[in-house]
Symmetry: C2
Subunit: 426 residues, 2 copies
């Protein structure tokens, strides 16, 4: 039985028990969320003992995924393993291996060995790099990833003749910016056949079920610029993904959906809510959304801005972007920076998230109390990145009990003294 | 006549003409916004010829202020001038001198000489540093700043016996975190008298009017942590500021209001809207809002996240925060980073802003077209910080026409080729 089937049968599996304890919710509540598909716990049975279950979805804290992987220009497997380890050390909840350069199988297995968080991958890259962009090639790749123990896979099932017809009727500035989406289009354009993952989706579900592999239904038609946001092709893909979520759940397969992309800040809430409605509340995995196009070099930040807004509206899982987005393969430092900034967005969203906000607020309260007491050690301990906070505070070698910005004019201290004198009484 | 009085008499002054042209709106419309106080153009008549008018408020693009200034621990005037120049070079629309160390008068004059953007200051710091925290000392400081040509001043008029009584009835974790606010409390606690800027507000307005000085009504009671957000003291201050805006307008003095502080993401919209209602649409100058407390070292980002949300809700002017916030006086590099990140927030808000979004979107469109064409020079030109984008792209010395992330699997190119083959037709 798959996890979702067990949960439907009323069994609280050890993974559900562990995740519920970690999140501070009732195991039985989490089992119900898993049973209805509103939360997923990506974990491939082939990786048992080497993966730590993590919950993504309603009533659970917002999670952060970090992408690593080689490219054809830059293929250094050890660097990518280091990046994965650095991401986890910086607090990533999951890692995706998006390698497209060198020996992809070896790379994937190294990442799976190196970390214990859930690992995701994109099988179509394998097929493409091996020049096996055929139905057989696609399913072989999927099966190989599943057998290797990958916990979740992105499959761009929403890119099919129906959604592409919508795209054709409503041209974009940037067209399609998803690699998996564009490879699927290449397949369709070369063969005249529809996307095999879509047309043979039942077969795909069988493979997923066999390994209890969680599907991440990719947003191949995510908009690549502000001008393309919220168009009909995107909403058509939401509808498709909704149908495919329904079929996955019926087959006993866990599924989440991926969301766009580049979206102006005032369209994010509608986009997230629409996805939630159209996919019957499937856990939503957000790439960005980037709230502007004009900031290459800062796209970990433009994405995190969108991430907070999306999280407030119900997004469950944020994919970290790095300062290198749109420009270059990220360095390890970029990955670390992207991880922290995305975790900040996830936490800021958690402060507003049903079922999660109380626990999230207790972290901020710890910091607030340390600040009120000018307790610097306490502030460092409560900081999301203590090393950075410490470095900035001590970089000039000036030692004061306040900060070097306010010095003797410390507002906290002055106000406290005035209040003790009774300034607040009439 | 002050600018607001001229505008009421139907005169379109050269400053209004220039700002309207820069913003792409009708001069007569801007004159109406100035006449009603819904937009301000901070410019001290004493600084004529050395200041460039900038518009802040409804129908105008979101502006960014950057703070510089010495502290008692770190007093290097030349460094602060350099920071001011670096901020302007990075696109700051205004600069505030918040100096509290060394010769404050000299510092202020240096900044006023160095830049042409509007310059703001906080006279109460002067009074405090000179140990003249008396009614006379406060007004002397204000008058001196006005005579020096400062274009706008923060006065913490909302911190008075009435608002402090509310604070006393509703204690906070962090108390008061505004330096000006805490100094005002110190004055009240030591003298038993109310805040002179409040009790003698008519006199304050006279001084402001004489120099056509714009008032920035400070949010001395802004919350300093998530736990303190949206409390009664804060809303009491909004009400006070609303009354004081009304009196400023009646006196022919331009006024804007300052907003909090630390606010969870889901309370920002309400906070901004309430301020707009309670101050009859006064231009809103936002400090932050920081959407979480737990990220010292990244508070330029937590503030920018809040800035986007506040901007969407109607905030007009964002104060840049730097990575040093809560820890140390910022370095020049911090100031530059804070300026860019805050400008990104302002622009992301502008993409959603009535009367502004079309022009803002044309910038993103330029980037989108350059990306669609893999035109790297065009991308650098459209980048908010071209040097950074270029540095990241070229740092490894790998030269390709795509990026090193996607290499041959460039989605943009693959999708374009597939679309040219007709994949979008039924």
């Amino acid at each position: 039985m798959t996890l979702i089937e067990e949960a439907r049968n009323g069994r609280v599996s050890p993974e559900i028990e562990a995740v519920a304890r970690h999140e501070g919710i009732e195991p039985a509540s989490l089992a119900r969320l898993v049973a209805t598909g509103r939360a997923v716990l990506p974990r491939n049975i082939r990786r048992e003992g080497r993966n730590t279950a993590t919950g993504i979805g309603e009533m659970l804290s917002t999670k952060v995924n970090v992408n690593v992987g080689t490219s054809q220009n830059l293929n250094s497997p050890d660097d990518e393993v280091e990046k994965a380890l650095a991401a986890v050390a910086a607090g990533a909840d999951a890692v995706m291996d998006l390698s497209t350069g060198g020996d992809l199988d070896c790379m994937r297995r190294k990442i799976l060995e190196a970390v214990r968080v859930p690992v995701g991958s994109v099988p179509i890259y394998n097929a493409a790099v091996r020049k096996e962009l055929t139905s057989q090639g696609l399913f072989n790749a999927l099966e190989k990833h599943a057998k290797d123990g990958v916990d979740f896979v992105t499959v761009h099932v929403g890119v099919n003749k129906n959604t592409l017809e919508r795209l054709g009727n409503d041209p974009r500035i940037m067209g399609v910016v998803s690699r998996g989406g564009s490879l699927t289009m290449k397949y369709i354009s070369e063969t005249g056949e529809d996307n095999p993952y879509y047309s043979e989706y039942d077969y795909l579900l069988e493979i997923a079920k066999e390994h209890d592999l969680t599907l991440s239904l990719g947003d191949g038609l995510r908009p690549g610029c502000i001008e393309d946001a919220s168009d009909r092709a995107k909403y058509m893909e939401f509808i498709m993904l909704g149908e495919l979520v329904k079929r996955a759940r019926a087959a006993g397969v866990q599924a989440m959906v991926e969301g766009p992309g580049h979206v102006p800040a005032n369209e994010i809430k509608t986009s997230v809510k629409a996805m939630k409605y159209l996919t019957d509340g499937a856990p939503l995995y957000l790439l960005g959304p980037l709230v502007t196009d004009i900031a290459p070099g800062y796209d970990h930040i433009t994405a995190a801005m969108g991430g907070v807004i999306a999280g407030m509206a119900g997004a469950d899982f944020l994919c970290a972007t790095t300062p290198s987005e749109h420009l270059d393969l990220p360095t390890k430092e970029d990955v670390i920076e992207g991880t922290y900034v995305t975790r900040i967005a996830a936490h800021a969203a958690d402060l507003t998230r049903p079922g999660v906000s109380d626990r999230a607020r207790s972290w901020d309260l710890k910091m607030a109390r340390a600040r009120a007491d000018l307790d610097w050690e306490g502030q460092f301990q409560a900081a999301i990145n203590p090393a950075r906070a410490k470095q900035i505070r001590h970089r000039r070698g000036v030692e004061t009990d306040t900060c070097t910005m306010c010095s003797e004019l410390c507002a906290i201290r002055l106000a406290k003294e005035a209040m003790e004198k009774g300034v607040c009484k009439k």
